[in-house]
Amino acid sequence: MNFDLHRVYAVARKEVMHILRDPFTLALALGLPVMLVAFFGYAMDFEVRDIKLAVSDRDNGPAARRLKEIFTASGYFRLVEPGPVGPVEMLDSNRVSAALFIAPDFSKKIKGGGFAEAQFVLDGSDNSKAAAIIGYLPGIQRAAQLRLAGRAHGNQSSSGADPEPSKLSLSAADPDPVELLLSEADRDPAKLLSSGADRVSVETRLLYNPELNSRWFIVPGLAAIIIGLLAILLTALTVAREWENGSMELLLSTPVRPLEIIAGKLAPYGALVLAGVCFVYLVSRLVFGVPFAGSHLLYLAACLLFVTAALSQGLLISVLTRQQQVAMQFSMISGLLPSMLLSGFIFPVESMPGFFQYLTMLLPPRWFMAAARGITLKGADLGELAVPFLALGFLSAVMLALAIKNFKTDLE
């Protein structure tokens, strides 16, 4: 089968003219990625701060005061004094995200060196907050223990210490809806309890992003999602449009071969999306100061592979649907949410159950995400990224082959 670059060029020129005739589309295709990356690179932050914490302090002793100070000093919590309504009602009505209950004998128990327990209740209806809040607690607990230690230590010998653990509970005046709701959910407290000595400790060294700057890992991921989606959408629609208008038959009746049509149609959009990649790169380097540890050439190769995969996905969708509305619906459903939720952008792939880890292997953004983060932050070389590169190449080849096969069968 002969493949004539001249004919490819002719189809591509026709497509370029079509794009240029519609400046709105051109501007959006080029501007949208930059705008979205700039806006959300600035706006997004997974570190939960400023959590509103209602405190019901029935103790009002020195230890309770110090415990509250620790919560404020952590920088994560903002204390809210409960008004006429109780903390649980405030949780119900979204006015606070967590509540701390300190029983009347809290300070006395701490002073006596006994076992004091404070109840911490949090809003489990908000997935983006609950896990983060639970993650902060062990640190707060340790800080509080060390802080309370000084005072309790000196007094321990004088007051007859009560070695028996005594549980703190809400006072009887409280209708106690918490106990009712949650008695079933005895979470393992051992995980959260760490009151040990510091003879053995661990010193953490964070590689590649020592200050845990969220931008550094959000911006490359965000760019991958936006660029991938745009590539899928643009190609899916352009080929579906030709079928819908009936102009595809016209094109096919000319001497241009199907492969040439495909190449010619994809090339301009590939170029458009790669231009978007360059803009996004500039924004992430200049505006957000995202470091670039690896090789630019390798990054470009990864982008090229990823864009090819996305274009092939778009082509496959358009060949299968042949109608712009269905193509758009299909692209969005197969592109938007999976690439945001299953690519490892927010939820790490390794935390998923086994079967779903394999399922995500079908998604090009998952591989590009690994490659992009590896190159930009870790400075990985081709040897270390062989798997993502091969996977992207393989997925592109399979989708392209499927699209071409379906494209051809229609001709007969």
Binding site: Q119, L122, V200, F217
Partner: protein, 366 residues
Amino acid sequence: MNPTLKAFIRKELTQTLRDVRMRALLFGAPVIQMTVFGLALSTEIKNIKLAVFSRPGDAMFGRVTEGFYASGWFTRAAHAPGEDPFELIASGRADAALISPAEGLVRSAERGNGKMQLLVDASNATKARAVEAYAKSIVADASEREYGARVLPALKFDVRVLYNPAMESSVFLVPGVMGMLVCLITIILTAMSLTREREMGTFETIVSAPLSNTEVLLGKTIPYLILGLADAALVVLAGYLIFGVPVRGPLWQLALASLAFVVNTVSIGTFISTVSKNQQQAMLGGFMFLFPAILMSGVMYPVENMPKAVIAAAYMDPLMYFVRLLRNIMLKGGDVHVFWTNLGALVLMAFFAAGLAYNRFRQTLN
């Protein structure tokens, strides 16, 4: 309702649902996606690959590392003896590496300073934060086991997670995913269908029919309203049947919230279609709305965290109110104050969006 309008609506519904692929996308895809997301996504970080670098004969260090693997968060990362831990993390074969002190953990701990080093791959900041927190609590436990608790006050938090006591990710995610799916489907349907009619020239035929402007607009939007509500009901039902996600609040609240939200999205879809000349523009317009709307809805990360200027934008996002309403009604049992304030905001926005869409629509007709 007059019979012409009724016939018009029936025609629109038939036209949309005639296509098998469209039916699959409208009713099959949301259920599949919700199931996948509900099963796959977890807010807990797990399966962290930990490599251990110890000195020979360091029994205590061995016990500490067993504590790591027994916690269930870490898995073993194999490595050749004498390999560089930095190299191991750089290549992605380990997410973290625990290194014993040069003289062995026992010896250095006897001198009161048993410091191990933990190298963490922080290229994913969220994951690194979790690894650090896990490691601290595991090592503190180990230290207590080895040397007994120091005379620190035994303070403990009794943690209760309200509304989702077992921390089921499906319960967490279903309200959010439901909001996103309904938003996605209704916006695309409405934006594309009107533009297609115009692009194909069939719109003129409709306009020349004996229908008023309002009737044309209603006839083009009510079908999508119905489809959007059907999808909302389907996703709630699937969430309940597959994952046992409860609907603790009254159903009428859920229905009212969905209606107000779908009116919003259908109006916005109509507006997008009136300003686009062809389906490609409608697609880009839809993308321009959907992407920010989903990211600012509070499903991916908390809205209150964002910079002040951006929060203002989030308050214009109907999806944010809808997700709040869904969480409140489904998981919290529908607090009256939260329900009415968020519903009020949605209704207000619906009036605004519908008015805008109607105005633009009339202009394009003339």
